[in-house]
């Protein structure tokens, strides 16, 4: 009886070991991005932007041209690339500290500009790279090294729902929040990432997929426990789903009388 290969490493995923901690979702999402690139046939014309965060070394992990951006500035860097190479496919891959803290202005404005780029946003509710400080997405009550008594809204403020925040803008064309906690959700995530890239390839404009992710190291749980924590805590606070699609995107308004 012969066997056929039904799953293998995508071509756009460079064949090197990653530095991620065991069980970290970054690895899964990397592969999904690579699969989307392969399936859409754009590996030859894709330029990726790596953030500062655990994914900083992502420049080694995709076999496409890569640019490492300053902390939080990936959307600006991607804008610079896309504006001078409008026919190439440009994406950023950013964590929640990178995108939702220091990089708030850059992501909001890239979205408001309907900049024709794709953003893969890894929300693991902490700063993984610097080993576990509060992120803008940290849940109330969640213990981190900078919220040793748990995040307290009085002192540390409220978690930010990035997808909903950007949904308050006219600019974005595709916005979705997903997770990779089950094979089913993983497939939804894969479709969302593909849809986001498609938006860009069709010239429709700004797309972002927020992936709720685990951080075994900073959460202090083993990878399997992390899945449960994510399901019991992150998903309830950050509802999954597509919140903006090209069809539902506000049309360009009629121009006002100049001055």
């Amino acid at each position: 009886m012969s066997m056929r290969e039904v799953f293998h490493r995508p071509e756009a995923l460079a064949d090197v070991a990653t530095h991620y901690c065991p069980g970290c979702d970054h690895g899964i999402v990397h592969r999904l991005v690579a699969e989307a690139i392969d399936e859409l046939g754009v590996r030859d014309s894709t330029i990726g932007v790596a953030p500062v965060g655990c994914a900083v070394f992502a420049y080694n992990y995709w076999s496409v041209d890569m640019v490492q951006a300053a902390h939080g500035r990936a959307p600006a860097v991607a804008t610079g690339i896309k504006r001078v190479r409008p026919n190439d496919t440009v994406f950023t891959y950013q964590g929640d500290g990178d995108l939702a803290a220091i990089g708030t202005a850059e992501i909001v404005h890239a979205a408001a500009r309907r900049e024709n780029i794709t953003v893969i946003f890894i929300n693991n509710s902490v700063y993984g790279m610097t080993s576990g400080q509060m992120a803008p997405t940290t849940l109330l009550g969640q213990v981190t090294t900078t919220t040793p008594g748990g995040r307290d809204p009085q002192r540390h403020g409220f978690p930010i729902r990035v997808t909903e925040l950007l949904n308050a803008l006219e600019g974005p064309v595709y916005l979705a929040r997903t997770a990779v906690n089950t094979p089913k959700n993983l497939n939804v995530t894969k479709k969302a990432i593909r849809a986001a890239f498609e938006c860009q390839i069709k010239g429709q404009g700004f797309s972002l997929v927020e992936v709720l992710s685990t951080c075994p190291s900073a959460w202090g749980l083993n990878p399997v426990e992390c899945v449960g924590w994510l399901e019991n805590n992150l998903i309830p606070h950050y509802p999954l789903g597509v919140v903006r699609e090209p069809a539902a995107t506000p049309k360009e308004e009629v121009a006002v009388g100049a001055r």
Partner: protein, 72 residues
């Protein structure tokens, strides 16, 4: 007879056990040995039960698996 099987790139496995957790057929387990990175790599301990469903491949953060399924 097994309806599928997997190739495991041991040296890339970080022993996170996610595949063990998700494999619907419970045919994976961590081995006792260490790989070069110091982790206990996963093993296909019940090859006969493997259906080639590829879930292990999907859920592995380190792309350790190549999955094969019975061709019809």
């Amino acid at each position: 007879m097994a309806r599928g099987t997997v190739d495991i790139r041991e040296e890339r496995c970080k022993g996170c056990e996610l595949c063990v957790h998700y494999c619907p057929s419970h045919c994976l387990e961590l081995s006792c040995g260490f790989n070069a990175m110091g982790h206990h790599p996963v093993e296909l301990v019940k090859p006969e039960k493997c259906t080639g469903c590829a879930i292990c491949g999907w859920m592995c953060p380190d792309c350790v698996f190549t999955v094969y399924k019975e061709a019809r």
